[in-house]
Symmetry: C2
Subunit: 343 residues, 2 copies
């Protein structure tokens, strides 16, 4: 994946991140040295995607430790990084893990390696789901820049491309924030994948005209029965896919499964700012003061998911059983994974 | 409907049009005096919506005739107006009708009156489909500014509001051109309708959460079996509505039914410029040279339509029969319609 964009780079103690706000027009890397720079990168969404934020913050803590002799000042800085974005579960987890380590730089590198290893296992497990030349629709962005590794759903398709399967990827633009148009299409180009961009409303027609063989998406949270919270628009895609007898796959690591909730009814849906819908690129597109329904996610019932692709393998229905089995798996280790994914 | 925006105004021989390109930020009327001004307004999409273009062109011909003594120069100007937008069937029809009349100004006013009368009949016939306080989702723009009269699908909802039924209108933003956000939401505000704007991808979730009682849309072309071409995204809405047991209605005048085609398979789908999807307000949102699938319309199978609302009444399945009956109806007349809609 030499051409893939790296969301986070760490070399000789220097931490750099791809500022995703400028994509696709500009590929701009910035260096993060101070606590302010690290926090700003996260808060401003220059670095996005929960796994990617975790990787970035892990390195950030190591960088702060290396530059700060004073323990109290360092602890305060680490606490600020840890709480920069409360909804990103990987953030607090990654910070705590690095803080607990003897060699923080080494631990940050291990966090990153583990991410790559999990993503690679997902890609390897997902690839056999697609025939050569399959036309696969995806929604939102789940590529390398979303995880800091190789990606989840899009990672499977990039791996398929590298394996010579030549998938054709149909990219939903993904309103309101256009992650499909801005990020996924760019990652397809970088990976040499043949791709087509379309508005979200064109998916049904593309399916009806026989242009779509399968759908693959990522996930934000998955309940024990397979109910899946993901970017708004996913549930509609799942209903449309079922109507057209097209399989919909969800690619996600074990850490996305929430074994404490029985169904999607327990997943609260974040509503985001109206301005994401009423303005675009600084230009007003709806009347002043328009009331907006802007849910960040929707919930796809497990029965509309053909399979879950995880680093431990492909889970099939009944999900009550296959997801319970996943819950019992040991913590992923980058070293063990090489054997695991070959087994 | 005193607060409704008028797309076209004609007073004392002066023709004015609402420049829809500036909506919703600015309500700007321009006067059209010359052939260039009339043609430019149509070509630039300042005036849009096939029925509205017909009304505007009808007045335009009358204005040109009044200002041009030379018959040859007038004929050349009229021909330019007639061919300003080849796909708008109402345009050539309206121009020919005015040209054939003795008193062109009077005939242009009659074209406009007829449009209002047809729209009013559609609104009157559609209103009883909705209970008080019904939450109705709509797609694209089908209000007064789309027809030059009272609108079709949105016209039904505006009439319901005036009748005290207090509908709640859920407005799909309608990518790529955002007619919902820019135009429909504004027309709801002007009509005092309680409305909510959302991205197209949120429709499925809104339905699943019980926020939608019915869907009503317009149409561009309807086949003898009820297959309906309409703005891209409509077919997906129809599948989602069926999945959630929500009725989907199509409001359209008899002139939208194409009695010469047996099914939607005979409807060619126009693909529009990639730039509609890849850029917005001059800002690039997808990588340079991105390949785009940008169909202007999709086709909803007749079996997913609960009813068609026309100026002659509500058509129910089986459509092969009810649409055949519609085909046999006489030409609509603004005078006769008053009796007709009361019958």
């Amino acid at each position: 994946m030499s051409e893939a964009l790296e969301a986070v780079r760490f070399e000789d103690g220097s931490l750099q991140y791809l500022d995703q706000r400028f994509l696709p027009a500009e590929i701009r890397y910035e260096r993060a040295r101070t606590c302010d720079e690290i926090v700003d990168a996260i808060v401003s969404l220059a670095v996005r995607g929960a796994p990617c934020i975790g990787v970035f913050a892990a390195y950030g803590i190591a960088v702060l430790r290396a530059g700060e002799r004073d323990d109290r000042a360092f602890a305060a800085a680490a606490a600020r990084v840890r709480s920069a974005r409360p909804t990103a579960v990987n953030l607090a987890w990654a910070v705590d893990r690095v803080l607990a380590a003897e060699d923080m730089t080494r631990e940050a590198i291990a966090v990153h390696e583990e991410q790559r290893s999990i993503d690679a296992a997902i890609a390897g497990n997902g690839m056999p789901l697609f025939a050569k030349g399959a036309r696969v629709l995806t929604h939102c962005n789940t590529g390398p820049i979303a995880t800091g590794g190789y990606g989840t759903a899009l990672g499977v398709l990039i791996a398929a491309q590298r394996a010579g399967l030549a998938p054709h990827v149909i990219v939903d633009e993904t309103r309101p924030l256009l992650q499909g148009a801005r990020l996924t299409y760019l990652e397809c180009l970088r990976a040499g994948i043949d791709a087509t961009l379309q508005v979200d409303g064109a998916a049904a027609m593309a399916m009806a005209r026989g242009r779509v063989d399968a759908v693959i998406v990522g996930a934000d949270r998955i309940a024990r029965n397979g109910d899946t919270a993901n970017k708004i628009g996913t549930y509609g895609l799942a209903v449309l896919a079922a109507h057209h007898s097209i399989p919909l796959y969800v690619a996600a690591p074990r850490s996305t499964f929430d074994f404490t909730i029985a169904s999607g009814a327990e997943i609260p849906i974040e509503e985001r700012a109206a301005s994401e819908v009423t303005s675009f690129g600084g230009r007003q597109v709806a009347p002043e003061g328009a009331r907006v329904f802007n849910p960040a996610f929707d919930v796809t019932p497990g029965h509309l998911v053909a399979a879950f692709v995880t680093e431990y393998g492909v889970l099939r229905p009944p999900y009550a059983e296959s997801i319970a089995t996943l819950a019992g798996r040991p913590h992923w280790s980058a070293i063990r994974s090489v054997e695991g994914s070959r087994a």
